[in-house]
Each structure stands twice: as C-alpha cells, then as structure tokens.
C-alpha cells in the first residue's frame, strides 16, 4: 500500500500539494504511489523560481527507468523555490516523496481553486487503494 497523508491535496495526475506555514505557499511533489509506479528516478527537470505556472500546463519532467512524465501544477501560481537537491540526487523523490523529495514551492493565486482537487480518501480511491 502507498503512503497517502490525509492532510494533503492531490491531483489525478499523482502530484500532491502540501500547505506550508507561509500564506498561500504550497509544496508540490509526486506521490508515493507515483514514485513507486515510475521506479528509480534518474532525472528531474524543474522551472526556475519566479516562473508563473498555469493550471495543468506541464511545468517540468521526471525521468525514471527510461520513462519520462510531465509534471503538472493544478492551479495558477508563481514558483517561489525549487528543490535544487534533486539535481544532484533525484532519487530523493523515491526515498522521501513528501519530504526531501519535494519539487517546487508555489504561491497559489487562488486557494479556492484547490477545492476541486482530491483529498487523501479521494486519491486513495482514484488509485484503487481506497
């Protein structure tokens, strides 16, 4: 069974958003289920801080076991920080997807837009682990 923290918000494309202590700033990464499906992550391509993300437009890519997947942010927002540690050690996505394997921190333009996303139970049902 995959780890699915109940206090996070999820997309059907297997990203999670985790609220930080700063107002409207969310940490984004891929879920434990997603990293398990992908296998060993060997490369992560992320945007620069300051980039404005549009809903469900690809903002980066992740490569594992010769498989490349786009990364999506479900809502509009500005990238305020990028996890530079992933450049040297992309395997952090596998070992700690909700912690050291985070990808970007985003200032979400409209937090109300997050209400259309999945909660933990909804995501568990989406991946068949509900």
């Amino acid at each position: 069974m995959s780890e699915i923290p109940v206090d996070l918000t999820y997309t059907k494309e297997h990203e999670y958003l985790k609220k930080t202590s700063e107002e409207a700033i969310y940490q984004l990464g891929i879920t434990d289920f997603a990293q398990g499906e992908l296998g060993d992550v060997v490369f992560v391509e992320l945007p620069e801080a300051g980039t404005t993300l549009e809903p469900m437009e690809p903002f980066g890519t992740i490569e594992a076991v010769k498989a490349v997947s786009d990364l999506y942010c479900p809502v509009r927002g500005d990238v305020v920080e990028v996890n530079a540690a992933l450049v040297d050690d992309p395997s952090l996505v596998n070992s700690d997807p909700y912690g050291d394997g985070w990808m970007i921190r985003v200032r979400v333009a409209d937090e109300g837009a997050l209400s259309g996303l999945l909660d933990g139970a909804g995501y568990a049902a989406h991946i068949g682990e509900g």
């Binding site: 494309e13 296998g39 060997v42 490369f43 890519t61 076991v65 498989a67 490349v68 786009d70």
Partner: protein, 268 residues
C-alpha cells in the same frame, strides 16, 4: 532484410474488430520509412489521438541512418552536428527517456495505451513480453532480463550498451531497446528491434566506448528473415487484422516542426 527494403512497405493501418490484449481495441499501422522528425511526430500524435478504450501500434523504419537521443540525454559537446552530416547520419531527439540509439538495420515499434490500464513499469514489462512472444514465434531465443539494478542515468552512454530489468535480451545481450513517455494519460513506448548491428557507429559519432555488443536477429536466426515476417509476427501477438488508414495530418505537421527544430534536438 535490409533497411533499403523497407521503402517498399505500403502504409497500412490495422484495426481489431473485437477487444484485443488488455481488453483494448488495437489499431496498428505498418509504415514506409520516414525521417526521424516525422516518425517522432507520428508516435507523439498516436498518443494524443488515442481513443478511449483503444491502443495504437506503429511499426516503422527510418529513411536514412538516424541517431535518436533520449529526452534528457546530453548531446551538446558529445555529438558534432557537422560530423553527423558528413557521415550521412540524421539526428532527432525523442519525447521519451533513455539513451542514444542508431536506427538503420532495425524495425522500430511504438505502442500507445491508456495509463489507466497499466502503470509505466507494468506497461514496460508487458510490452516487452509481447515483443518477446512475437520474436519467439520466429524462433529467436529471447528472454526477459531479470537482473536487479538501478536504472542508468541519461548521460550513461548508448542504449544498447547494456540491458535493464524487463528488457528483451537474447543470449545475455540486448536485442530490443525501448523507452517511454507519458503524454497526458497515455503511455507511449517505442523501441528498436535490431536486425543488424549498427550501434558501433555511435562511438565514431561521439558516444563513449565500452559495454557489450547487442544481439541482432541476423545473427540469432539460422535462416534469412522473410520480407515483412517480423511485422506479421508483431501484428499477430496483438491480434490485429490489416486495413488501410491515415494518421491526422494537422497534429502531425505541428509536432514535426518541433522534432525537426535544433532548439529541441540540441536542447541539452
């Protein structure tokens, strides 16, 4: 079969009437040799255009010897565009991951299927098992590599230098090199089934030396491979019957521009 013979292939589409493997309706195209940019555009388009409950198979070749690079594989400073031109080798960057392949005496397959049916790793293994089944039907002594180990980095050298778990090998050497990309909710996997060994040319083009030579069908079979025999075997395992058809021209043209551009090919 030589790469030259591929030019006589007639573009054909294949569609199953009943659900095929994985409960999906399989559409297949056997195509004549095209440029790298067109081949990548058609693969990409097949993923974008995939119908609900459907899966798409393409079998194709390349009009000139072509170096294909993985999506994130470093090429700047490693491969010299002038040298490639002088040697008559075209270059294209794939949408998928993995590492460099020299396409010439080979058959390339691509498969697009819904990500909801199989995850990336499961799809990788399942497709390779289907390919192995088709190759075994021709008498090729294939197996699926089971060696445990971590995936190689994009900069780790050419694709056929070594095998990864789940890949199709013969007598311990890689016979089919494959890579994947997830496009929206579709998994696109494509790969090269070697008829002859042109991979050594990669070193002359700039790839690092070393590794084990790949297996090839010409060496593994103790008889000549009849024209289109491999294509027929592959279509057979997906339970497809031949009909004519054509891919979407508008999407393909737009994607071809991207795959033809230096900005994409030499992006890293």
């Amino acid at each position: 079969m030589t790469a030259d013979e591929s030019t006589s292939l007639v573009p054909v589409a294949v569609r199953t009437r009943e659900p095929g493997p994985l409960g999906l309706r399989w559409t297949a195209r056997v195509e004549s040799a095209c440029s790298g940019a067109k081949n990548m555009a058609r693969d990409h388009a097949s993923a974008l255009e995939l119908q609900a409950g459907g899966a798409a198979l393409r079998l194709y070749r390349w009009d000139v010897p072509t170096l294909s690079l993985g999506r994130n594989e470093p090429a700047l400073g490693r491969y010299d565009p002038d040298l490639l031109r002088r040697l008559g080798v075209a270059v294209v960057r794939r949408p998928s991951g993995g590492r460099a392949v020299l396409h010439w005496r080979e058959l390339t397959y691509s498969i697009a299927l819904p990500a909801s049916v199989l995850g990336p790793r499961a799809a990788y293994r399942w497709i390779n098992e289907m390919l192995a089944s088709a190759l075994a039907s021709l008498g090729v002594p294939v197996e699926i590599a089971s060696r445990a180990g971590r995936a190689r980095l994009p900069e780790a050298g050419p694709c056929f230098r070594g095998s990864a778990p789940g890949e199709v090998v013969a007598r311990g050497r890689k016979l089919v090199g494959s890579a994947q990309v997830k496009i929206r909710r579709v998994i696109l996997q494509h790969g090269s089934i070697l008829l002859g060994n042109d991979q050594a040319l990669l070193q002359r083009l700039g790839a690092t030396a070393g590794g084990v030579a790949p297996a090839t069908l010409s060496e593994l079979l103790d008889r000549p491979l009849a024209k289109h025999e491999l294509e027929v075997a592959l279509l057979g395992v997906f339970k497809a019957t031949a009909v004519r058809g054509a891919p979407s021209q508008a999407i393909e043209r737009e994607l071809e521009l991207r795959y033809r551009s230096d900005a994409w090919t030499w992006r890293c």
